[in-house]
Amino acid sequence: MATRNRTLIFRKYRDALKSVRVPTSSSPSTSSIRGGGGGGPVIELASTSLLNPNRKYAPLSTEDPGNSSKGALTVGLPPAWVDVSEEIAANVQRARTKMVELAKAHAKALMPSFGDGKEDQLTIEGLTQEITGLLRKSEKQLKRLAAAGPSEDSNVRKNVQRSLATDLQNLSMELRKKQSTYLKRLRQQKEGQDGDDLEMNLNGGRSIIDDDNLDDMVFNEHQMAKLKKSEAVTVEREQEIQQVVESVNELAQIMKDLSVLVIDQGTIVDRIDYNIQNVATTVEEGLKQLQKADRTQKRGGMVMCATVLVIMCAVMLVLLILKTILF
């Protein structure tokens, strides 16, 4: 792939022209130039150079020495929302590092160990809570990025939102996947221990019902013991499932909110030219809406007052008539 760099030639021309340029409006500088007098200096240069081809202009001391710093001047302070977006990005980064830790903790907990494994469970729970918290906080902050009103700035904000939303969604999906694989493996391990019992209990449950249909309910001791054991196991499983459900719900909520923002790849919304067209039309439409709102607002106040007063007068009149009729 061939390319060609023209920067050197460009800089050479630029420096050459700079030394020839009329330095009148260069220092009252940036504001006036941006104000639209940009055409000015260029025209002056052309005309003066035509008139006085031989006069040499010594560079005035009023000219800023390092003109590249002028470029730096124009790199002004970014608007406030950029800070919010940077915060979200930092949170996402933090969540990512925590995910790595979580993966390690998962692996450790799954390894057969002599201890109770309770502390592993606690660390895992703690990490998961932290990550979910970070994701939720980021998502709330993301909502703040949404801007009102059509303007170029709002397009930038929308796009920043989209990009962060994609990152967040990917993170939450990763988290869920890790969680579900971990739980599956955990359940496999546990079932290895009392899976047979569970099966028997299930079958036992069914056979109890069958017996009911055939005989009268007679719970003998054996069946009672089985019942109690299965109850305990069920309670434990329920707790685990409860945890999973909670995290699933939370993450599903986050994903639902995010999926509105995230772009579907491969669709028309993912095309650059479609977005440019859309921007043009939404800006125009936004202008129309603003004008309409302006108009209705101007009219609205008076008209509403008048209507309210008239209605009240009418109501009072009716009451008066009623009063005279009845009394």
């Binding site: 030639i9 460009f10 800089r11 260069s26 470029g71 302070l77 608007p79 930038v156 459900v245 043009a280």
Partner: protein, 568 residues
Amino acid sequence: MVLVSAAREYVNRMLQDISGMKVLILDSQTVSIVSVVYSQSELLQKEVFLVELVDSISKSKESMSHLKAVYFLRPTLENIQHLRRQLANPRFGESHLFFSNMLKDTQIHILADSDEQEVVQQVQEYYADFVAIDPYHFTLNIPSNHMYMLPAVVDPPGLQQLCDRIVDGISAVFLALKRRPVIRYQRTSDIAKRIAQETSKLMYQQESGLFDFRRTEISPLLLIVDRRDDPVTPLLNQWTYQAMVHELVGIHDNKVDLSSTGKLPKDQQEVVLSSEQDAFFKANMYENFGDIGMSIKRMVDDFQQVAKSNQNIQTIEDMAKFVDSYPEYRKMHGNVSKHVTLVTEMSKIVEERKLMLVSEREQDLACNGGQVAAFEAVTNLLSNESVSDIDRLRLVMLYALRYEKESPVQLMQLFNKLASRSPKYKTGLVQFLLKQAGVDKRTGDLYGNRDLLNIARNMARGLKGVENVYTQHQPLLFQTMESIIKGRLRDVDYPFVGNHFQQGRPQDVVIFVVGGTTYEESRSVALQNASNSGIRFILGGSVVLNSKRFLKDLEEAQRIAKSSTNVV
């Protein structure tokens, strides 16, 4: 692959070394160039948070100095003027200028002059000056395409503009591939000769330093041909997926606009058909309509199964699995709806315009002989009420192109009948076509009836019978490619430019069709490349034609020709 990846690589390089939030400023041409190879989500990943057009951005007064501006423009006069204004009143922190083709020194001078605030950090030439719609197919989207049919005296500056754009596009392709080719052109076409000579001058004299790449043993071949050598292909109705969508609805920059065809849900009004992003499309773009129906049915069945299993959520695990696979499910749903909508639309159009009947006759006219039977068939179809005007016009044109010399009386009868049946038909259009692309003007053996070998081949084919009546036509390009593969492209018909010479067969061939390519031809190229003949073909054109566009170009050219003769 190579064109798409080259364009992507250019865009990547533009964005990667610049840190921080960026705004990408394009012009109306580079928007197409970038949109077909880069998606919005990829731009967001590279921290490009705003994309604007260079002409509309001048109107806004907001200053966004926390953004860095990346300009990617064609080096035209208007763009330089826009840039001048913007550099004089810079709205962004830094500016990085990338041009899609070579800058003249005067242009750099103008830019340097207006950059008083020194916001420009770099000026580079990144030669992505072509729209890479498919891996081996590029186009230039030239609006004034019809100029190629007019003699140079009619509008010299307009024709020069067209030639310049084509030369720019072709040189950009070779710069992106980092090769310098040997150039051949179609002898009977003046414009092909002109473009070949100008390209050769650019690559070997004016900018020979830029094109001086490491020489491989055999240089690649650039072959410049004229659309008028094969006017039949753009007139035919198509039955393979991509070509058919373009013919019946219209594909522009890999987008299909369905908003004019009745009520559709909002997200299906405009869809993307890109072989890079859509695996189903990639597998089926060259299949014919019947097979497409089967494939879509299979896709819908698969999708229904997935949907059913998603509805059957009973346990917590099922719920979790559903939430996990939801994005993929949504993507699949979108894809299925898109293809089903497209095929439904096309079936509707086929039904309305009785295209199966018309197309059978068209294919017959293009591939098989028999003047008397053809005349009768065309007359019958002209009388048929349900055949639309444009289809009648096409039939008469195809008949005229084939039987131009045989029985002129019957030809006149057809013209009169056409004029009486179709009120909107501009008289003389068929004659204009014959003047442009008649039997005397064509080089190639379009109907296989000049060369003994071709006649024999046709007879053999007639005896054997064809698989599918609707796709029996092979574009002339196919024969050209075969000749190149066998090393038998005749010097008499396709001479070399200047003192170029090539011994042996090239391994890379770029064929540029002045006047536009068709998707049927790009299909031919893709299938040829897939057959591993040792040669890689790339096809390019000034636009991508369908019959509507080809007829529009003809009408435009005829109008200009008429008005210029009136003036003279």
